[in-house]
């Protein structure tokens, strides 16, 4: 099956390269959207590790995104940390929070797991509103322009520059794709899928399924946090709306649309959904109607999502 691996590697490399090339042709606005979407896609890909590969339906991922975002944002805003340091802090705190949540929430399964994650995420949301002295509540934190550039090996990276932002977002995306790709092709991925497909059986094959699920939650949470931290630092705004349920649902939506359990699905889903909403929003204030219809349509007629369908029909080798 090495041939398949080859195909897959080429496909993913191709996608990344295309995204790189795009930046030279995209007009301003779409250049900006692409930057946003690439960061959000990392969020969705993180979500996918848990939902798509491990079969854990969470409605609390906004909390992980928010953890990364607020940690990165507040360390910069209050402590004046440098961008790279704040970014790292964001990921670390994300890993920690997801470990904590996993340890508690994984005591439940199925629907109650969904509800519990939703609940915790809601607490996080309320916390961002409640501790106004640190988070500035509804108003949110705006990162000072001064804090938005850093130097690596003498040369200065300025995050207010669109091109820089685009390529940093792309870099993050690339790393995520590689991480997830290796993960799901490797033994861990096999274990995750085993849990998704038949947990009791997996237990009776000598796997500690709790630990596997916890692993999945932490990886997923850390990726989401990385996305959140990047979003805060690239776009200089940290706000409670990013931790609202809406955001958890978006991650689910992006993943479902693109195809749960495929590496590139969430990326595709993010792009399509972002544009769908953006277009809809130019026609009606009720643009979230689209979100509703897409969710229902998917679950009724397209449960595997776009790449999922491709995978079952024509490309069984798609990771």
């Amino acid at each position: 099956m090495t041939g398949d691996v080859g195909k897959a590697v080429w496909l993913h490399a191709g996608v990344i390269f295309t995204l790189f090339a795009m930046q030279f042709v995209l007009p301003d606005y779409h250049h900006l959207i692409a930057t946003r979407v690439m960061v959000l896609a990392v969020f969705a890909m993180g979500y996918n590790v848990m939902f798509g590969y491990t079969g854990l339906l969470s409605l609390g991922h906004a909390m992980f995104f928010g953890t990364g975002m607020y940690t990165a944002g507040m360390t910069v805003y209050h402590l004046g940390w440098s961008v790279p340091l704040a970014f790292t802090a964001g990921i670390v705190s994300g890993a920690f929070v997801s470990l904590l949540l996993g340890a508690i929430a994984l005591r439940t399964a199925g629907v109650s797991f969904m509800i519990v994650t939703l609940m915790f995420s809601q607490v996080a949301y309320l916390a961002t509103l409640y501790f106004t002295s640190y988070t500035r509540g509804d108003e949110g934190l705006v990162l000072p322009a001064a804090a938005r550039s850093f130097s690596v090996f003498g040369h200065v990276v300025d995050l207010t520059d669109p091109a820089t932002r685009y390529n940093l977002a792309l870099a993050l995306l690339t790393i995520t794709v590689i991480v997830v790709f290796k993960l799901v092709r490797g033994s861990t991925g096999r274990a995750l899928v085993a849990v998704r497909e038949n947990e009791p059986r997996t237990q009776m094959l000598g796997y500690n399924t709790f630990v596997i699920k916890l692993e999945s939650v932490v990886i997923s949470g850390s990726l989401s946090a990385a996305s959140g931290a990047a979003y805060a630092l690239l776009f200089a705004y940290v706000g409670s709306s990013f931790t609202s349920i809406q955001y958890s649902i978006d991650a689910l939506l992006f993943t479902l649309l693109g195809g749960a359990g495929t590496v590139l699905g969430p990326l595709l889903g993010s792009f399509i959904m972002f544009y769908l909403i953006d277009i809809a929003s130019s026609y009606t204030a009720a643009y979230l109607l689209v979100t509703g219809f897409v969710l229902i349509g998917l679950v009724l007629f397209f449960p595997r999502g776009l790449l999922g369908a491709l995978k079952t029909r024509w490309l069984p080798w798609l990771p």
């Binding site: 339906l57 508690i104 929430a105 005591r107 439940t108 399964a109 199925g110 629907v111 109650s112 969904m114 509800i115 519990v116 939703l118 609940m119 915790f120 809601q122 607490v123 309320l126 916390a127 509103l129 409640y130 349920i245 649902i249 689910l252 479902l256 009606t284 204030a285 009720a286 643009y287 979230l288 109607l289 979100t291 509703g292 219809f293 897409v294 969710l295 229902i296 349509g297 998917l298 679950v299 009724l300 449960p303």
Partner: protein
């Protein structure tokens, strides 16, 4: 204000909260108990109930009391119709698969909410209370209508308890809840029971909303809070346990009311949510519920 009256006011607020909450949560709990699916769109049935109540009362300009009573009957019926459509068109086609249903009901959440935005606008809409009198306590005044809400809700809860525990319909529902397969074998039209339960569940939310709307106003975004609180209630009460639901609703409602008064509503919500976490660590199946898989 002194501690005594302070606490008294707090408990009154808690009581109102609890009354409305147990109605709403009972709807969610019924649906889960019998159908084993979670309706994430439940809060929007509540919202719809309130908004329709405004719409109805604004259409018919007669004495507010009459208008309100008509709304109290008509609004839940309309919501029931919507719920029935949702069940036939979506849930039944998904064969009530738990995860698919969650996703679908999230979709319904947005559809209902955004349609309300389109047709009723983004503003908060007032509904006249059927009557209005202030109960003047020595230390403060209180809306008499709020107290009536508590009474009405209690009555409804008793009635539904009676239906579920004492009537044939209730028996059928409990049989289906106990074991869908067995029920089918006994010739119970399970699909129809499901539709019925889903409709009734939605109507519970709608009734609760109509009762509360003269106090809170109708707004297209009002569905989220009751949804989350109901989740908390059904988890603590144990998914599917009616008794648990009502007890939990009272606990949550009161504690929420009281903590809100003494500290902050935001804090109150955080606390009750953490309560859920604790319950789950100790008893994943909830305080009263049977284990769920």
């Amino acid at each position: 204000m002194d501690f005594g009256p302070y606490l008294f006011l707090a408990s009154l607020e808690g009581l109102v909260q609890a009354a409305v909450l147990s109605l709403t949560a009972l709807g969610l709990s019924l649906v889960f108990g019998v159908m084993r699916v979670v309706n994430v769109g439940h809060g929007e049935f509540y919202m719809l109930g309130a908004v329709l109540a405004w719409w109805i009362t604004s259409l018919i300009s007669i004495h507010p009391a009459a208008g309100f009573l008509i709304a109290l009957v008509l609004s839940p019926v309309l919501v029931g119709v919507v719920a029935y459509a949702a069940d036939r068109l979506i849930l039944s086609r998904l064969d009530y698969n738990p995860e698919a249903t969650i996703v679908a009901t999230i979709g319904m959440l947005y559809v209902l909410q955004q349609l309300a935005l389109i047709y009723f606008g983004p503003d908060a809409r007032p509904v006249e209370a059927p009557f209005y009198f202030r109960v003047q306590f020595p230390w403060f005044g209180y809306s008499g209508y709020k107290l009536i809400v508590v009474v009405a809700a209690t009555g409804l809860l008793l009635a539904s308890w009676f239906v579920i525990a004492r009537t044939r319909v209730g028996l059928i529902m409990r049989a289906t809840q106990f074991d869908g397969e067995m029920a089918r074998a006994l010739g119970i039209p399970v699909r129809r029971v499901y539709s019925l339960v889903f409709v009734v569940g939605a109507m519970f939310a709608a009734v609760a909303a109509v009762l509360i709307v003269p106090i809170r106003q109708a707004h297209y975004l009002m569905g989220l809070d009751p949804l989350l609180l109901s989740f908390i209630v059904v988890i603590i009460g144990g998914l599917g346990s009616i008794r648990g639901t009502i007890v939990a609703a009272t606990i949550i409602g009161m504690s929420d009311g009281i903590i809100s008064v003494f500290f902050s509503p935001t804090l109150a919500k955080m606390v009750s949510t953490f309560l859920v976490a604790l319950v789950l660590i100790v008893r994943p199946e909830g305080l009263f519920g049977a284990k769920i898989r």
